[in-house]
Amino acid sequence: MRRILATLAAGGMTVLAVPLLAAGPASAEPTYGGFQAEAWATPVRIELYEPTIPIPVDPGKPELDFNLSFTRTRGQTGQLSSLGSWMWPGDGVGQGFATFGAELGLPEALTADGYPIQVNALQPGGNGNERQEPFPGAVMRAQASDSEARAQAGWSTAGEIGEGNGGGGDAPGGPGGLGDILDNLGGLLDPGQLGTLLDLPLLGGGNSAGLGAGLSQRVAGLATAEDSMPGLPDGLDLLIELGGMSSTSRITLGDEDVTSVARSALGDVSLLGGLIKLEGITTVARAIGTEGDARASSNAEVGAIYLAGQKLAFDDEGAVAGGQKFVFPGLPVEASDALRQLGISITLPTATRQVDGMRGTAASEAVRIEIDTVTVKSLLGLLPLADVLGLLPPELGELRTLLDTIINLGPKVVIRLGNAAATTETVERFEFDFDNNPIPEVPDPVDSGDTGGGDAGTGDGGVPTEVDLGDFGGAGGDAVGGVPPGALPDNQMVAGPGLPPLTTIPGLLFWGGLVFGGLAGAWLRRMGLLVLGGGAACAHGCETGLPDLRAI
């Protein structure tokens, strides 16, 4: 009895607890119905176009590509994922690494776990956080949660992979403004020195009440600020930081929008805690999907200089400083022509943004260098390379064959610096109005007896809650509940009458037919065996049975 009571009590508590647990914390439903988003970035992408490389690719795609400090986040309704890699060899090789390893004869132990230089996060259904930071300055992180996917990869002496402000504006990630610089300088200067620095006219010291009011709080907090990133020893990374290259990709799910941001930075140099910061190439792509039209923005900058938070940038049209653009001489035409004769071309692609309804796409690429080795190869053809190879001794036949193959290749190499792309697409939320569109009930087959009457429907314009099948057969039947017979919902039209009741004549015929069929089949099988010889005792004339061997 006690056991039964305990079981009932436990069951009751479970029943009470499950709805509470299932409800969880109250969360607002997003205004969009679903989404699909992707953001990826890589500071350096090297593409190799050589059809003789035995890797199947789509036309126009490179046979091989290498992406340094590559990050990518992907998401769709219900799942977010992120990937970070210091060197990503493209999806073909990266995701099919085990297959390529087997083809190349590599030991299975090396390739069984897939491409090793990557971190992945998946939510739900996988690891939500993975990182590899083997030594200070090398960061490879992937995170995924219910509301955000983030990937970071890069090389930096400070181990700082800047997020930039790609999520909040179009401008690339810079030093982060005066406040951040103050935070950094706090490690070098004591609060007294910092206060003196803030009085300098360059920083607008003393003239800003807001800055002065916030200064005391910020200076007080500087002493306890902790650097969460691995990097150089405290203090040294404030003097100089060689950013190397980095990229970040992020997808953020908000209540009203889905934002995907990709950012790549190459050649960051930071001096004096960010007071002077040089950025070689920075690109940002951002796409936001909302219930209305999507938004997309992208930007590519080359040679930006930040001085105390003020940006001085150079691009293909000139220089940008203090929000004003100045015409700047471009690359000399003579130099371009000289490079083109060698099969080398340098272009500064324009950033692209495209919005199509609720789909937004943005892409940035800063510098593209194309090297067509066919041109160089034609120049090499003037050289007696074949004669030189012919001088190799026969013992080096394999080497000669290899060299001969290499000099006959003519791949095209494309180096893309500063790559970032983001795509977001949302769909509208769909809600069915059950109040004004109730689902009609399936008709009861027992009511089908009235086949000839043709009762009139209610005719009040409402949707019926019960359908009388008699109306189907009645030539003079009016519309059922205001809905004409030809416009009945599908679920009513496919509803079948089911098996006939057992006690009716059709039922007896049905079940009797089944029994008769079974008996007839068994009889036919037996007769067939007899006719075809299968019913004989043994094909060799022996009896069939179980003999007593001891009596033989």
């Binding site: 060799h540 001891r550 033989i552």
Partner: protein, 235 residues
């Protein structure tokens, strides 16, 4: 010509899609010892499973005493007098020798007679009647297994690899007993890889290679041409 106690006619059998027996024909005259020889993987043990009803044929027939027993269950065949001593002996290791033997009185043979028969063929077992079977040597366990088979009063005895894992001297001793059993009127089909020992006590012999019986005849004929037969059959 008398009816053979065992006749296998064009038997095919397979494990899944792998056909192991590919038309086996074999006759064991009543009261004789037939040695079925052949290399490993030739299908000998599979044929034994088919004969004892442990495996269904895909085609062909098995006749016992001139009666087609295809489809009969192993237990039914055992009650009729067909007894199998499987490869690996399969004695109850945690029972004594006597308990192992008494378990075989299910066939209706009185317990005393079971023990008398066993100890008559293998006096060593009487010395160890209270010893746990699992603590005996391999040869002694094989003796016990044969004794258990004899306790069921078999008419046809199927021996699978009697010599497996045993010292040559023990094997010779066991085959001497096989010869004694045959003299009592029990028909025996013994599967063996070591041809010399089996042929010494056999009345007939057959060689099985690749799922077929490729040669059969008197033991001397088979002994002389064993190498040629097996190599030729394998080729």
């Amino acid at each position: 010509m008398s009816v053979p106690i065992l006749e296998v006619v064009d038997v095919h059998a397979a494990y899944g899609r792998i056909e192991v027996l590919r038309g086996v024909d074999l006759r064991v005259p009543r009261g004789s010892v037939m040695a079925l020889l052949g290399p490993n993987g030739g299908g000998k043990s599979t044929l034994l499973k088919v004969i004892s009803g442990q495996m269904e044929v895909t085609s062909g027939d098995v006749h016992l005493g001139g009666v087609n027993v295809s489809g009969a269950k192993p237990a039914e065949l055992a009650r009729l007098g067909l007894c199998t001593i499987p490869e690996g002996r399969s004695v109850f290791p945690n029972l004594t020798v006597e308990e192992n033997l008494l378990l075989m009185s299910y066939a209706g043979v009185p317990a005393e007679q079971v023990l008398e028969t066993a100890f008559g063929y293998f006096p060593r077992l009487e010395q160890r009647r209270d010893q746990l079977a699992g603590t005996m040597s391999g040869g002694e366990q094989q003796m016990l297994a044969m004794s258990r088979a004899l306790a069921s009063d078999p008419a046809l005895l199927l021996l699978d690899e009697l010599s497996m894992g045993l010292a040559p001297l023990i094997v010779e001793e066991l085959y001497e007993t096989v010869g004694q059993i045959a003299q009592s009127g029990v028909s025996i089909l013994c599967i063996e890889q070591f041809a010399k020992t089996a042929l010494a006590v056999s009345d007939y012999a057959a060689v099985m290679v690749g799922g077929r019986v490729i040669a059969s005849g008197e033991p001397d004929e088979i002994n002389e041409s064993m190498a040629d037969v097996m190599l030729g059959g394998a080729a």
